[in-house]
């Protein structure tokens, strides 16, 4: 960036961190990933600083969630099979929403249902004041048998998105699964059906076996992998989706630092969701926001949106070996 042509910001406060996701303006691109956020986090970080709130996935019916154990750790990662314990919509409206009402941070509600129609009617029911967008979790690998979900195929994604689009005036974000062989194709289907944004991605279907008992480590046998281990995979999918769609992409998978967020934005994300990192550092999101501003300041980037899709792809030429030669 040429500082003479376009002067960089002079302080972190001068960096414009705001982003727009399908009509929804966020004060910054950093928000929680569904299922890793709740009111308890208000003890550890200042809710008024987040780009958005994203709730744990809500279902219409009461759900108990999966049998225990529900998590197992692996190198640089976590496998979870929490399932979607849900107390239903009335509880959500009466007991969960009030926690976030006092903040002017947009509240995004994640929803799930066993059928496309169920998604649509749930979205309609939750299109109420206080909710800023619907995130359709069509990708949770634990719900459907053997990890199958709507987001595994373009056709089913298209159908559920179309019904959702018709059911609500709110922005619709569609959360994709990384478990399919062609994520860009599914993203394209979501875009075609009217999604305002895609979230790339949910957890990667995984397994672990206990070597004492020879039983699966998780009560649900399989679960979803999250954390730093999956970042290179999901980052690639964001990069591929950025070539397939023009709607905003929200990157999600292994983000723990501002550098991770920048990497995702360069690959094509307009915003990012932080999940597992919050379990290790409860203030991870506000640290990322601060460091993101510092990064932009340092690199003389006035607006964080300048990072989006900023990865530099060159024609394959001579490999850059300059780091091998310390001479000036």
């Amino acid at each position: 960036m040429n500082a003479a042509v376009r002067p960089g910001p002079r302080s972190v406060d001068a960096v414009d961190l705001s982003v727009s996701i399908g009509g929804l303006r966020l004060r910054n691109p950093v928000m929680p990933a569904s299922g890793t956020f709740g009111e308890g986090l208000g003890k550890a970080l200042d809710f008024s600083r987040l780009g958005a709130f994203v709730t744990k996935t809500v279902t219409r019916e009461l759900r108990a969630g999966n049998p225990l154990p529900r998590v197992v750790e692996r190198p640089s990662s976590l496998i979870n099979a929490i399932g979607i314990p849900s107390r239903g919509v009335p509880y959500f409206i009466a007991q969960t929403m009030p926690h976030y009402a006092a903040f002017d941070t947009p509240l995004v509600v994640s929803i799930s249902a066993p059928t496309a129609e169920g998604f649509a009617s749930l979205a309609a029911e939750l299109s109420i004041p206080g909710i800023a967008a619907i995130e359709a979790n069509i990708s949770c690998p634990n719900i459907e048998e053997d990890g199958k979900a709507f987001a595994m195929r373009a056709e089913s994604t298209e159908r559920v998105t179309r019904l959702l689009r018709a059911a609500t005036e709110l922005p619709v974000w569609v959360k994709l699964t990384p478990n399919t062989g062609d994520v860009p194709e599914v993203a394209r289907a979501a875009e075609a059906a009217g999604a305002d944004a895609v979230v790339v991605a949910n957890t990667i279907l995984s397994m672990a076996i206990d070597l004492k008992t020879f039983k699966p480590c998780l009560g649900n046998i399989m679960g979803g992998l999250s954390g730093p281990a999956i970042k290179p995979i999901v980052l690639r999918q964001v990069f591929q989706c950025a070539k397939a769609v023009t709607i905003p992409i929200i990157g999600c998978g292994g983000i723990a630092t501002a550098e991770d967020a920048v990497e995702y934005m360069l690959a094509g994300a307009s915003a990012v969701q932080v999940g597992t990192a919050t379990f290790l550092q409860p203030a991870a999101m506000t640290t990322i926001i601060d460091d993101l501003a510092a990064f932009c300041l340092h690199r003389e980037i006035p607006r964080v949106t300048d990072l989006i899709r900023g990865v530099v792809i060159e024609e394959a030429d001579e490999p850059d070996l300059s780091w091998l030669d310390p001479l000036p």
Binding site: T36, G38, D46, S48, A64, G65, E73, Q95, L280
Partner: protein, 291 residues
């Protein structure tokens, strides 16, 4: 049998855990901080005593609360999650907290590598601790294993309330008992029962409890570390109409109520409800706990 969730009507209106931005400037009440290791040394063949100096807020931790420790990586192993450890002791004046831990797996092996002066990332204080009623004259605490660590700060807190404490401590062998001196220092009476002396069976513990209740009275039960002993206390609590509290353990990821991996079932007025050990507990009503 499907696990039933807490029914809607049973829930209290949500307490605002974080003030809205308009009010006072926001301040964290749970912090992950780099504490400095003051001491980390063996207590016996199984347990280590770890003292760290920390922030004022952390040193305000109450008995029954816990911290989530980001354990260093021991050679060749990579604990990923934090590990929950009960407060063993706190010194708000010196700004120190102490833990008593048993080396069992990757995380605690990592803790074992800490030397004086090293930094340890501690997150807390977390969860709901023990409630002590100042009117209680005498309480009985029953613990086993790592449960003794959790019960330990009760002795001092009860003394400050003028409440007498009898502790029944259970262990495999006498030399593996911990916290006895600490309890006695605060004027508590400690009755040790062990497997090697064949005194730790539920029947004998029940005999001791009945004797204590009969001879010296008891206003409340506390327990941690053994569901068999908990069941004995539940029976006697029902029989004698005593209140009781139990500190539960469960595997944790977030430690702060977000992930729902730490749920256990509780019996609330005949209904099975699922609650988060890290957020609704770890201290629960003795009568609601299911083994």
């Amino acid at each position: 049998m499907p696990i039933e969730l807490e029914p809607l009507q049973a829930c209290p209106p949500p307490a605002a855990v974080a003030g809205p931005p308009a009010c006072a400037p926001w301040k964290a009440s749970v912090v992950a901080e780099l504490a400095e290791v003051v001491r980390n040394e063996p207590v016996n063949a199984e347990y280590r005593h770890l003292v760290v100096s920390c922030s004022e807020a952390a040193a305000q931790a109450q008995p029954g609360q816990f911290f989530q420790l980001l354990c260093p990586q021991p050679a060749g192993e990579q604990p990923f999650l934090r590990r929950p450890m009960s407060l063993y002791g706190a010194d708000p004046a010196e700004r120190q907290v102490a833990f008593l831990y048993k080396v069992t797996g990757a995380g605690t092996r990592g803790l074992d590598t800490l030397r004086t002066g090293d930094r340890l990332d501690i997150m807390g204080p977390l969860g709901v601790g023990f409630r002590l009623d100042p009117r209680w004259r005498r309480i009985i605490a029953v613990g086993r294993g790592a449960g003794l660590a959790t019960l330990a700060p009760l002795a001092r807190a009860a003394k400050a309330n003028g409440t007498e404490v009898t502790a029944i401590f259970s262990a495999r062998r006498p030399e593996l008992l911990v916290s006895v001196a600490l309890f006695e220092r605060h004027g508590a009476e400690v009755i040790a029962v062990t497997d090697s002396e064949s005194t730790s069976g539920p029947a004998n513990v029940e005999r001791i409890l009945r004797r204590e209740i009969a001879e010296r009275g008891c206003d409340a039960f506390f327990t941690c570390g053994s569901s068999r002993l908990m069941r004995v206390q539940q029976r006697l609590a029902r029989e004698f109409g005593l209140p009781g509290q139990v500190a539960m353990e469960q595997q944790m990821a977030c430690g702060i109520g977000l992930c729902y991996c730490c749920v256990r079932d509780f019996n609330r007025d005949g209904e099975i409800v699922s609650r988060r050990v890290c957020w609704d507990g770890p201290v629960f009503d003795l009568m609601e706990a299911l083994p």
